[in-house]
Symmetry: C2
Subunit: 281 residues, 2 copies
């Protein structure tokens, strides 16, 4: 079960705050979190690890992983909360380290991977972009989400250019590659995905394919399918006004009662309650 | 036949120059041209029309249409040259007035439409974005094209928010809508498009469909198909290193000799000559 113990401003797919005031305790949420350290330094605890981020660091934390970010006193930093949907959009028109990180983070059971970029802190453009994004986020005007998306991608390319990007984590390369294959199939076919069709596509026997999914993601096929459907359900509930029965249909559930039951098991709230509580009116 | 009487810096899909020095005579080229007037004013001649752009105007001129842009002495302006490919990318993940303008501009025989946005000239953000783009374009570094693309889209959304956008032109609404249907089909199926398949998709008879295409675009189906293939060919030649015989294959030509013959008829140069001349090494 996901836990989301803090109500984030989930009405935007991308939210950015400069120097967030409350130093929260260890927590987790369904968003990716990007911490950008302009000056000073920041302690990060993620899973069982902890490390310092010096000035000029950008650290991308995966969703659903307990973490704590503790800045020192003279730290100026930006915190971005990014819905998984945003990174999923990248998959359709690009292939880069952010896509790789996204696939790994979303499709493994115990994900504590973290994408880190170290840049020279003197690089001014990145901070200008983050300031522009902060203003846009506060404005929350027509097309703000779209503009934040394109400014974020500009930042991503800037980081790829100026920073040394590394994914810290324990997954080996072969596992990562297999995971990406499975993940792409599941994302592209979430309404009608089946183990038989995946096995067919990979040219594996049904039993080997079942083992392959479990081995490389830590989930059974059914669990993985549920995970993606739940993630999509949250997006529909928060960022669209789609009625619950239509969401169930679009996710490939045969009846909406079934969808509602599964959703409540996962989040402890019915879809309607979840929308009412998490989506500001 | 297309004429491209000026050698543009075609190695970038998006090029931006602040206050371009040479006041060129009437000319045309295969790029979209976006003129952004910060101060002063600018005279534009396009097709048979001419009009003044005051400070705060953004005017998007279609490709392959003779035009002249003449700034007055105290005019500060930015000129962007944008490859049709860039706007085509928009179609796959969005639907807005820029898509509409793109479809109209590329898929009509005598296009003199122009997309104009009038903003309050005091709006500072747009000019900051254009300055950032100018710097990025001069830098021409790794990922510059990607960053220019995302900054351009940020500008588009900003214009949609702050400006009154209008498409000046003579095409009536029904014609525009039909054109868009045809255009989308042709772009999505350019390797294997056929009049029979389009007729099938629209549920029209073959002869009515043929008439429908000609009536709404001014081109026969074959002419339209050639136009798109030639546009794609130019992209492959300028922005990729794909060998000519592979380009022919990817465009759906049965043999590369045929492709080379058609290309030379269109541009007066063989594909290899075109690449050598237009793509800086």
């Amino acid at each position: 079960m996901y836990s989301c113990d803090i109500l984030f401003p989930a009405h935007h797919q991308i939210t950015i705050i400069k120097n967030p005031s409350a130093a929260k305790g260890r927590h987790n949420h369904t968003f990716f979190e990007l911490n950008c350290i302009k000056t000073g330094r920041c302690l990060v605890e993620l899973g069982g690890h902890s490390f310092f981020l010096p000035a000029g660091s950008f650290a991308f934390l995966p969703p659903d992983t307990a973490h704590l970010v503790h800045p020192n006193q003279d730290c100026i930093w930006y915190q971005l909360l990014i819905a998984p949907d945003v990174l999923e959009q990248l998959l359709s028109f690009d292939n880069n380290i952010f896509c790789e990180f996204f696939l790994q983070s979303v499709f493994t059971k115990e994900s504590t991977d973290c994408l880190i970029s170290h840049t020279a802190s003197a690089e001014p453009d990145a901070w200008l972009l983050l300031d522009a994004m902060t203003l846009e986020c506060q404005k929350a005007d027509l097309y703000s989400d779209k503009m934040l998306f394109h400014l974020l991608l500009t930042l991503f390319y800037k980081l790829m250019r100026i920073g040394e990007m590394t994914i810290l984590g324990s997954h080996d390369f072969a596992k990562k590659t297999h995971m990406a294959v499975i993940a792409r199939y599941m994302l592209q076919n979430y309404t009608c995905a089946s183990l038989a069709r995946l096995a067919d596509q990979l040219n594996y026997s049904l039993s080997y394919c079942s083992h392959f999914v479990l081995e490389n993601t830590g989930f059974t096929f059914k669990q993985l399918q549920k995970k993606i459907r739940m993630q999509k359900a949250v997006s529909y509930l928060l960022y669209a006004d789609t009625p619950v029965n239509l969401i169930a249909e679009q996710l490939g559930y045969s009846c909406s009662e079934n969808f509602m039951k599964v959703f409540k098991q996962e989040y402890g709230l019915t879809p309607t309650q979840y929308r009412a509580r998490m989506k500001p009116q």
